[in-house]
Amino acid sequence: MNIHEFQAKGMFRDSGIRVQDGVHCTSVDQALSAYDLLGSEIVAVKSQIHAGGRGKGKLYSLDSGNLVMEGGVKIAFSRGEVESYASSILGHRLVTKQTGPSGKIVKNLYVESGCEIEHEYYLALLVDREKGTLLIMASTEGGVDIEEVAESNPESIHKIWTDPIGDLNASDASNLGKALGLDGQTLSGFCDMISNLVSLFVEKDCSMIEVNPLVRTSDGEMLALDAKLSFDENASFRHPWRADLRDLSEESEVEVRANEHGLSYVDLDGNIGCLVNGAGLAMATMDVIKLYGGEPANFLDIGGGADSDSITAAFGIILEDQRLEGILVNIFGGIIRCDMVARSIIAASEETELHVPLVVRFSGTNHQEGREILESSDLNVETVSTLAEAGEAIVGVIGRSNK
């Protein structure tokens, strides 16, 4: 789960991590009052969306599709500029490297006091999967894409690891700061900051915190100029307050809906819908479709606890896709029985119009009964027993229907 920059900065402020003063706004008027309130001549006017690359993004009009402004983060030197930037941002579509071509409509704005930047750094905290512990990563090259830095200048990236149970080792933290060339008050400011960030990460069950850029100001302060924070959703049960920070308009509506039915769904660009039990098998099913010359329309894992209702919901979601030309169901029965899935498919076809050909592969528990149920039904369905047959059948059936 991701949150907006202004929300992350609120959490930073509460945790004693230095950020500039700023105000969250949803209208141009609010942006102007924010400017008056902050009393800073120079302010940053920042689009708030759950995607990176905002600064280099482009804003387009929703109606005409025309370019409105280049750059989703602007430095304003006057009240007039705040007004102009805020009106060019709010209600427009921001397209960045990370949003995809459809972009995101900007509904939130953050107006923040400016500061004198001496140098920009990069700082991130995340769980290192291989070491199974918390990784703190910093670079002297901030304000740019860290993946690019990792390619072009890997020696500028420095790492330390810390056990989330104990305290951050003070000399590790200090060495990380020294590796960035910090000293004196600036170094101790940096050490305090990462110690506070580790506490925040652990207390709030984060999965990632990224500060890019982290800046050193002309008076030697270390300041989080940007803040990106994601939570580990598996820990949401112990953080009910997260519900207030969630912005559902930033999430894929269909993925959220699928989740409510216990389904794991990811939308893709192809025309073959997939319905599979198990995440690994669901990915493998997509891979097979591609290898046999087709294009998967989605990833869909119905999970181990699927029942007739969730399978009906899954069919409904797959069938919403306008590009859909066929559906491949791939079930390896274990806890889930193929006969139950077969009955659910028939029930789903009665509720939603099944307007595309269907290929069903059953293997494992009660696969024979499952096949018999489908074969004796009125459905337009081809049943197969292996993964290879499934790939051939679904791609073949679509090829035929296109001729």
Binding site: G132, N234, V266, G280, D287, F332, G364, A390
Partner: protein, 310 residues
């Protein structure tokens, strides 16, 4: 033979009185697994009646291990309590008579920092091995029945000479079915789980299969995310002498999207299927780019090694 478990392994079930625990305990006993007890705090002294056997319930793992001499424990408790259950099991085995034990955690959805804490706790216990979480478990088919600790359908397996290691549940069953379709059974199948932080990894399994005289070849099923597959490939290149077949799920997965499993995500362009396949290829591993051809790749590997007639 097999790795880590066999037909006489004594198994405890943590969460045996819950619906999942009871359901799977019944199936494990039916398969031939030697379940000697269950643990549910507050329900010690009760008996869980399975169709074929009555299983005593204990309040704590410590009591259960000392009363039954169990060597393994399988965890079917909800995600919010699972890491504590892992730690309790590890402590009980570590402090037990021989200081050894196998902990298998099936539970999906454990907070990642809980797993970091559980792992760092277990690290200090050389005799304790954790499999999972978010996995189907481990199974070693026997001559009749066998030892099944987990949720996999037992009947699709058959005793043989192939080891299987996988991050996924149903995709492991797919691999099992394909080894069967080319006439090969299994020594042991280990589901290591799809979480970003887990216990036993590919290398631990490969190393155990290397030592096991009855395992002739291994099938390794990875998926996108992290670099466990790359590390396993580089280890196998120098240390694994048996034929090895590899598949990686998720070649068609878009970057930055979590594909069902918490760990299955390409982040910052890293953890792609292509990188993993290349690492496999570089290490001389037989690769099946097509998951419907895992069986064929295994057959090719066995023939090349002189273990099967062409």
């Amino acid at each position: 033979m097999s790795i880590w478990i066999n037909e006489s392994t004594k198994v405890l079930v943590q969460g045996i009185t819950g619906s999942q625990g009871k359901f799977h305990s019944t199936r494990m006993v039916d398969y031939g697994t030697e379940i000697v007890g269950g643990v549910t705090p507050g329900k010690g002294g009760q008996v869980v009646k399975l169709p074929s056997r009555a299983i005593p319930v204990f309040d704590t793992m410590l009591e259960a291990v000392s009363s039954t001499g169990a060597e393994a424990s399988v965890i079917y408790v909800p995600a919010r309590f699972a890491a504590a259950a892992i730690i309790e099991a590890a402590d009980a085995f570590h402090g037990g008579k021989n200081g050894r034990g196998l902990v298998i955690c099936i539970t999906e959805g454990i907070p990642i920092l809980d797993m970091v804490r559980a792992n760092s706790h277990i690290e200090k216990m050389p005799g304790v091995r954790l499999i999972g979480p978010n996995c189907p478990g481990i199974i070693s088919p026997g001559d009749s029945g066998g030892c099944k600790i987990g949720i996999m359908p037992g009947y699709i397996h058959s005793k043989g000479r192939i080891g299987i290691i996988s991050k996924s549940g149903t995709l492991t069953y797919e691999a099992v079915a394909q080894t069967m379709s080319v006439g090969e059974g299994q020594t042991t199948c280990v589901g290591i789980g799809g979480d970003p932080v887990n216990g036993t990894g590919f290398i631990d399994c490969l190393s155990a299969f290397e030592q096991d005289p009855d395992t002739a070849a291994v099938v390794m099923i990875g998926e996108i995310g992290g670099n466990a597959e790359e590390e396993a490939a580089s280890w196998a290149k120098d240390n694994f002498t048996k034929p090895l077949v590899g598949f990686v799920a998720g070649a068609t997965a878009p970057p930055g999207k979590r594909m069902g499993h918490a760990g299955a995500i390409i982040s910052g362009g890293k953890g792609t299927a292509e990188e993993k396949f290349s690492a496999f290829q570089e290490a001389g591993i037989y690769i099946a780019r097509d998951p419907s051809k895992i069986g064929e790749a295994l057959l090719r590997a066995l023939v090349d090694a002189g273990l099967r007639e062409p």
